[in-house]
C-alpha cells in the first residue's frame, strides 16, 4: 500500500531564462525571440507603472484620492504576460494588474480619469480607485473587488470564445486570461473555474501572481502544498511555475501557454508566476507591522524585475544611466501633468447616478431623477452642480 506523500514529491521547478547576472542562463538555447524595440517598450512600461504607483500612493496620503494599490515587484509578471497576448483576447483581472492595462494600451489619461472619477472615466465614477473599466478600450472586464469571482468569469468568456470559434472556424482563435493572487486561489471560485474549464475544454489561461502575501498572510499560512501550479495538475490542466521577476521567462511561458490553449479546439493552462509583493498591500496597509523591512530590501537587491531587465539592456547597449534619468524625469512630469489635468476635469454628468442599474431607465429611477432635479433647483447653494459635466442639465 503506497500513500502519496507530498513531502517526498519533488517540488515543481521554476522556469527562467536569465541568470542572476541577467544573461541567458542556458548557453545551449537561443536568445529570447524579441526585438530591442520590444524590450525597450517593456522596460519603459515597467518604469511607468512604478513611477505612477509612487506618485499615486503619495497622492492618496495627501487626500487626493480615497485608495490606491501599487504593484512593485510584480511589474514583469504583468508587462511580460500582457505582451504575449492578442488584442482580442479577453482579460479578467484582480486589482494589481496596472501593468496589464498599460501594456494593452491604457494611457496615463485613462488611469487618471478613473482615479479622480472624472467625466472621462468609462466607469462614470462608480467604481473604487484602481478598479478600471477597460472592456471597450483594451478588452479587460471591469475590475471587481470580490476576490476570485473573475476566475470563473474567464472560463465563461473562454466558453463564449470557443462557441464563436466553432461558428467562425476561419477566424484566428482567441483566449481568455485571468489574473489572481495566490491568496485568491484559496477561494472556491478558483477551484470551480479550473475544474469546469478542464471538463469543458475552454481556451483560458489562469495566471497566478504568487507574490508571497495576501495582505498580511504569508504563503506559509495560505497553503502547505507545493504552491498553486500543482493544483492545476490535479484538475488535469497543464501547468508551469515561472520566475515572475524574469520578464523573458514570463513572456515565453505566456506565449507558449496561449499556443497550447488554442490547440485542438481549446483547453486551459495554468501559470504560477513567482514574485514578491515589495509594496504594502494597499494604501490601507502598513506591511512593516508584519514583515521585516530588511527582508524586503534583501529581496529587492537580488530580484527586482526592473533592475534585472535594466542590466540586460545595458549589456546590449540599449540603455544607460543618462537615458534612465531622462526617462524617469519625463515620465514623472507626464504623470503629474495628467493627474492635475484629470483633477481639473469635470466630474461625470449627474444622470450617471441613475443610469445603467438596468439596461433601461426604470420609472422609479426617472421619478427620483426628477425629484433630485427639483431639489437642486430649489436649493442651488447646497449643491456643487457646476463641478459636474453639463451642470444641472446633466440630470435631464
Amino acid at each position: 500500500m503506497d500513500f502519496l506523500k507530498p513531502a517526498e514529491v519533488t517540488p515543481i521547478a521554476t522556469y527562467h531564462v536569465m541568470d542572476t547576472h541577467s544573461s541567458v542562463a542556458d548557453p545551449s538555447r537561443a536568445p529570447p525571440d524579441v526585438t530591442d524595440e520590444q524590450v525597450l517598450e517593456w522596460y519603459k512600461n515597467m518604469v511607468t507603472v512604478n513611477i505612477m504607483d509612487n506618485i499615486m500612493f503619495e497622492a492618496q496620503r495627501h487626500g487626493r484620492l480615497s485608495f490606491y494599490m501599487v504593484s512593485a515587484g510584480e511589474e514583469a509578471v504583468m508587462i511580460g504576460s500582457a505582451a504575449a497576448l492578442g488584442a482580442k483576447d479577453v482579460i479578467t483581472c484582480q486589482y494589481r494588474e496596472t501593468g496589464v492595462f498599460l501594456q494593452r494600451g491604457f494611457e496615463l489619461k485613462d488611469f487618471m480619469s478613473q482615479l479622480t472619477a472624472n467625466c472621462n472615466d468609462p466607469g462614470k465614477g462608480r467604481n473604487m480607485p484602481v478598479h478600471y473599466s477597460g472592456k471597450n478600450k483594451v478588452n479587460i472586464h471591469a475590475v471587481a473587488s470580490t476576490l476570485a469571482t473573475q476566475i470563473p468569469h474567464a472560463t465563461g468568456a473562454a466558453y463564449a470564445l470557443k462557441m464563436d470559434a466553432l461558428e467562425n472556424p476561419d477566424k484566428p482563435g482567441n483566449v481568455a486570461v485571468t489574473y489572481f493572487g495566490e491568496g485568491a486561489a484559496s477561494e472556491g471560485d478558483f477551484h470551480a473555474a479550473l475544474n469546469v474549464a478542464a471538463v469543458k475544454e475552454c481556451p483560458v489561461i489562469f495566471i497566478c501572481r504568487n507574490n508571497g502575501f495576501a495582505i498580511s498572510t504569508p504563503t506559509s499560512e495560505q497553503y502547505i502544498g507545493d504552491g498553486v501550479a500543482v493544483r492545476g495538475m490535479s484538475y488535469g490542466i497543464e501547468s508551469i511555475r515561472v520566475d515572475g521577476t524574469d520578464i523573458f521567462a514570463v513572456y515565453e511561458a505566456t506565449k507558449e501557454a496561449r499556443r497550447k490553449a488554442l490547440e485542438g479546439g481549446g483547453r486551459p493552462i495554468l501559470l504560477e508566476m513567482m514574485s514578491y509583493r515589495v509594496s504594502h498591500h494597499s494604501t490601507s496597509d502598513d506591511s512593516f507591522a508584519y514583515r521585516d523591512r530588511d527582508d524586503v530590501e534583501a529581496w529587492k537587491a537580488r530580484n527586482d524585475p526592473l533592475f534585472r531587465l535594466k542590466v540586460w539592456m545595458e549589456k546590449k547597449d540599449l540603455w544607460d544611466s543618462e537615458k534612465e534619468t531622462q526617462f524617469r524625469k519625463t515620465t514623472r512630469a507626464a504623470v503629474l501633468r495628467e493627474l492635475v489635468a484629470a483633477e481639473n476635469e469635470k466630474k461625470p454628468a449627474l444622470r450617471g447616478i441613475f443610469d445603467d442599474v438596468y439596461a433601461e431607465l426604470t420609472e422609479e429611477a426617472k421619478e427620483q431623477r426628477g425629484d433630485l432635479y427639483r431639489l437642486m433647483m430649489k436649493y442651488p447653494e447646497e449643491y456643487d452642480i457646476n463641478d459636474h459635466e453639463e451642470g444641472i442639465r446633466g440630470l435631464s
Binding site: 467604481n127 471591469a142 468569469h153 465563461g156 466558453y159 463564449a160 470551480a192 473555474a193 469546469v196 433601461e360
Partner: protein
C-alpha cells in the same frame, strides 16, 4: 457514481408522491377546477385552450428561446443527460446538443460564475439551479457580479443572463431545501425577479426573462411543476411573452384585495371561493407575477377599490415581500384603507421536516380565510 448527494434532487424523492396526492397541502393547491374554469382567457372562446403542466410550459419556453437565439444556452447540474433534476429540460440535449445544453460539475459558484462570465462576454446564458436553496453557494456571483457589473462598468458591460430553478418549500425536505428567496433577490438593484404561478405565467415570464437584457431571477415552485393549467391559444404560440413588472388580477372582487405570488396565488383563489361561499364576500386576488419591478399601480388601484389589503406569501415574515407591499400601501394607499392591512406568511422558523409541523409553518387555506374574515370583521 460515488457519493450520491441524496438530498439534491428532491424531485426524485417526491416524484411518486406528487402523482398520488397524499397530503392536503397538495390537493388544496392552486387549481380546484372550479376556479380555473372561472378564469378568463383572452382567446378562450376560440376553443384552442389546452391543458399544459407548468413543467411543460417551462420546457416549451426554453426550447423556443434556444431555437430563436443562438446566443442562448442552458447550463447546470443534471440539465442535459438526466433531463433536469425536475425534468424541466427534458429533450433539450437531444434537440440542441451538448454545446448548448451543458451538464456541469457540482459547483454552484463555479457554473454560475462561468455563466456570468459568458454573459459579460456577450452570450445569453440560462443558469439552472437544482433549487434556489443551493444558489446560496453562488449568491456572490448573482449579486456582486451579475447585478452590479453593468452599473459599475459604466454601462459598457451588460449581463443578459437568466437564473432559474425551484424556490420555496417543497414537501418533506426540511429547512435547507425549503426557503423562499423572493425577498433576497427582490432587494437588489440591477436584478429583475419574477415568480410564476400558472403555466401561462411560467412560459410567458421565462421567455421574457431570457429576452430581457438584464439579469433576471426566475423563481419557480417545485410543487407547481406537475400542475396542469389551461393555456390559451395565444399562449401556446412561440411569440407569447408576458411583460415583466405587470401583475394580473386573477379574480376580480370589491371587498378585499389579496395580493399573492407563486403557489400561494392558487391557495388565495381557493380561499376567495370559500369566502364567497361562507360569507358572501368578494375578494380580489392579484397574482404579482413579478417581484421586481413590483406592479405597485395595480395593487394600489385595487386597494382603493376594496379598502382592505392582505398579502399572502410563503417567505419569512420579517423584511419580506409582504412587508414591502404593506410599507408601500402606507406610502400610497393609507387614506383608502378602512382596516389595518395584514400579511399571511411562512413562520419564523427553519422549515421542519415532519409533515404536521411543515404544514403549520406555511399559509394554508384556512389561515388565509380566517385572516381575511378578521380583516373584514366577519
Amino acid at each position: 457514481m460515488v457519493a450520491p448527494r441524496v438530498f439534491r434532487p428532491a424531485a426524485r424523492l417526491l416524484s411518486s408522491r406528487l402523482s398520488t396526492p397524499l397530503r392536503p397541502a397538495f390537493t388544496q393547491t392552486a387549481c380546484a377546477p372550479s376556479i380555473l374554469r372561472s378564469r378568463g382567457y383572452a382567446s378562450e372562446s376560440a376553443g384552442g385552450v389546452k391543458e399544459v403542466t407548468v413543467r411543460d410550459a417551462l420546457n416549451e419556453a426554453l426550447a423556443e428561446e434556444l431555437e430563436a437565439n443562438q446566443k442562448t444556452f442552458i447550463l447546470g447540474e443534471e440539465v442535459a443527460q438526466y433531463n433536469g433534476a425536475y425534468k424541466v429540460t427534458r429533450g433539450l440535449l437531444d434537440r440542441f446538443g451538448p454545446k448548448r445544453v451543458i451538464d456541469t460539475p457540482i459547483t454552484e459558484a463555479g457554473f454560475c460564475g462561468i455563466a456570468v462570465g459568458a454573459a459579460l462576454a456577450g452570450l445569453h446564458p440560462i443558469c439552472e439551479f437544482m433549487t434556489f436553496n443551493f444558489a446560496m453557494q453562488a449568491i456572490d456571483q448573482i449579486i456582486n457580479s451579475a447585478a452590479k457589473t453593468h452599473y459599475m462598468s459604466g454601462g459598457i458591460q451588460p449581463c443578459n443572463i437568466t437564473f432559474r430553478g425551484p424556490n420555496g418549500f417543497a414537501a418533506g425536505v426540511a429547512a435547507q431545501h425549503s426557503q423562499d428567496y423572493s425577498a433576497w433577490y427582490g432587494s437588489i438593484p440591477g436584478l429583475k425577479v419574477v415568480s410564476p404561478w400558472s403555466s401561462e405565467d411560467a412560459k410567458g415570464l421565462l421567455k421574457a426573462a431570457i429576452r430581457d437584457p438584464n439579469p433576471v431571477v426566475v423563481l419557480e415552485n417545485e410543487l407547481m411543476y406537475g400542475q396542469a393549467f389551461p393555456m390559451s391559444e395565444a399562449a401556446q404560440k412561440s411569440d407569447f411573452v408576458l411583460p415583466i413588472g405587470k401583475a394580473k388580477i386573477e379574480r376580480p372582487g370589491k371587498d378585499l384585495t389579496i395580493v399573492s405570488v407563486s403557489r400561494c396565488v392558487g391557495q388565495s383563489l381557493t380561499a376567495a371561493t370559500e369566502l364567497k361561499q361562507k360569507y358572501g364576500v368578494d375578494a380580489e386576488v392579484i397574482n404579482l407575477r413579478s417581484i421586481k419591478p413590483l406592479d405597485v399601480e395595480t395593487i394600489i388601484a385595487s386597494l382603493k377599490k376594496t379598502g382592505r389589503l392582505m398579502i399572502v406569501e410563503s417567505g419569512y415574515p420579517m423584511y419580506g415581500v409582504a412587508s414591502e407591499i404593506m410599507a408601500l400601501s402606507m406610502e400610497y394607499g393609507f387614506d383608502y384603507l378602512t382596516a389595518p392591512a395584514a400579511r399571511v406568511t411562512g413562520a419564523e422558523v427553519p422549515t421542519p421536516y415532519a409533515q404536521g409541523l411543515e404544514e403549520m409553518a406555511f399559509p394554508q387555506i384556512d389561515t388565509i380565510v380566517n385572516q381575511a374574515a378578521k380583516i373584514l370583521r366577519l
